[in-house]
Symmetry: none
Subunit: 195 residues, 4 copies
DNA sequence: GATGAATGAGAGTTCATTCAT
DNA sequence: GATGAATGAACTCTCATTCAT
């Protein structure tokens, strides 16, 4: 039970619907303020039935996080494989992260950032391992850019400034606005690389 | 009761200690996971006594937010008054925000960002009014910079990218690290303004 | 369905295995703390399948008790038929009860004693009828002994003191100990009959 | 909180009433079938209030056991101090145990015997320590009797047979019956000692 | 102002039982 | 007969809040 599976792919399985509705509610009301009865109602089952799919409420949170990180990481690796130009690869990362933060996984991403403390210590570490690999991808590309003389700021600090700037977009960027995600990515890229 | 007063100034009043300890706990464990008994224990009183100072637990959260915004805004206005050069004024804003996010008010600032949803709708609006004024200060200065041809990105978008980048520093910047807040402000400024 | 059948004889029928494993678990953890899933797992089937054999969890408890009493009673009657000497017949009863309490039916006997309250009132009465017959056998023999001047205590009270002493052996007697059940029966007989 | 105090002495304290009513219910319906709401209703408080007095439902069970053992042990030691004659001291022990099992502490004693498995392993051991001391008192006196040539059976086995016989009286002895506890003690003593 | 026992609604979780396959 | 997902009532326990002292 509960093997990690791509959130989008498993689509209409009960497990998938549960994770999706839970992510929506966790994002909207916060993990603590969301009751298992809320989740059950959103999925259209009884509260007790939740526990056939997940051992505990925290389990749901955990698998939202794990599934999401794994999905994003896979997408990012696929995108990176398409170019060898450092700046273009950086653009890919920025665009992927903007997509992750503002696209279909946006709610799960928000949960990943905002509900961190609701996870037991032990599980935080397991998620951290996945995150470390993800961050390693970013650092590699930024170091390529630095080696190519394309960025002026220390790669470690730049990654962090970008991480904040990009994840924060979830609080203000709306798809129906004037700027597309591609435009936004370009503007963010402009902050990062020299002329 | 409960008139908003500067968090730092009121120092050792019971109200001030309560707000400070509560902010610390809210930041550490989250608002929902912090019990009034936790707060009472941290201050050294009994749980029932809390309600002589605040009408409810949510009240505590509310006044942490209000006091903090007002304090930061005041400090920012004082700093802005010291120069008329747009770029220097922008540096002041960046530095003030970094200080707010990483200095003594850091825990209260984190609460302001992370515990937003735990506030009742009505009170969210009241805090938003204070925030709007604060954001208005930022936009004015960024527009000055734009008028002076110092920035390449749209002021509205730039403010948001910066807001994310700066507030995110709380997750990684440590005072005991190599870079001072002044250095960090310079690096952030470098992202924002042209050469 | 559910006609009472000798627990030992029905050996490997699903019903028999179910009763045996259930008795083991009820004894070990108590009726309430044992879940039907525990029982199903012990037998190697799924929880839902239990209900093809027994109408309810309580049914299982009931048939453990009924089967056990009937089996013990039958064994005791067979043993009594072998002698006409009152003291020897008393020794038979004592030995049979020690066997019941400490032998293969020991777990079922413990369930009979300890899980009494978990049975619905109505069913308690049905089991009581079987028990009354069993106790009637004891009283007859003790009255024979009294008539023969072999016991000094009132038969009714003596039976009860013996019942307690013998059933309590389950809490301390171990087959691998020094004393055999025959020895133990002799010691108990020594308490009951005059020199 | 929860220091062990004599059940009878603390009489009308909330804690004492809680323990008494809980013992009554645990005895009547069993620990598992008794809900904290049952206990609260019996005491006349709300279910949540229970947890101001005891950390958990199991805590209640634990303190019923501890308080009871300590009370009985104390009473027994006082009684033993009154004579040096081994047989009279044995009569005291038998009488005390009969009183414990059938008197005011009878329900708590039954709980002690029947609800053992509902206690967590760790706590079982703590109660066992108290019980070991209690049993040590019994063994000492039985060894005195053996040394004086008054008993024919091994003290260790005799204690166990007596323990079963005496505790079992709770299932059948009624105060309003013909025999007094003193009579019953004499009959039990007659089983134990020669002539 | 401070206390802390009491409240009572509501939380997460369990589990005997059902039933479509 | 067997399965196992689903049910839904009931459980223990939590906690913000009240109030008599």
């Amino acid at each position: 039970m509960n093997e990690s599976v791509d959130l989008a792919v498993e689509g209409e399985s009960p497990r998938g619907r549960l994770l999706r509705e839970a992510a929506h509610l966790f994002r909207e009301k916060g993990y603590e303020r969301t009751t298992v009865r809320d989740i059950a109602a959103a999925v259209g089952i009884q509260s007790g039935s939740i526990f056939h799919h997940f051992r505990s409420k925290e389990d749901i949170l955990y698998y939202i996080m794990v599934d999401t990180i794994e999905e994003i990481t896979a997408r990012m690796e696929a995108e990176l494989a398409r170019s060898t130009d450092p700046v273009e690869r950086l653009r890919s990362l920025i665009f992927c992260e903007l997509q992750a933060v503002n696209g279909q996984t946006s709610e799960a991403m928000a949960v990943l950032v905002y509900e961190w403390r609701s996870l037991a210590k032990e599980r935080q570490e397991q998620v951290l391992k996945l995150r470390d690999y993800y961050e390693h991808l970013w650092l590699s590309v930024l170091q390529e850019c630095a080696a190519a003389g394309q960025i002026a700021v220390d790669p470690g600090i730049l990654r962090r400034l970008l991480a904040g700037a990009l994840s924060w977009t979830v609080t203000w960027y709306r798809t129906d606005g004037s700027a597309s995600l591609e435009d936004l990515a370009s503007q963010a890229l402009a902050l990062a690389v020299k002329r």
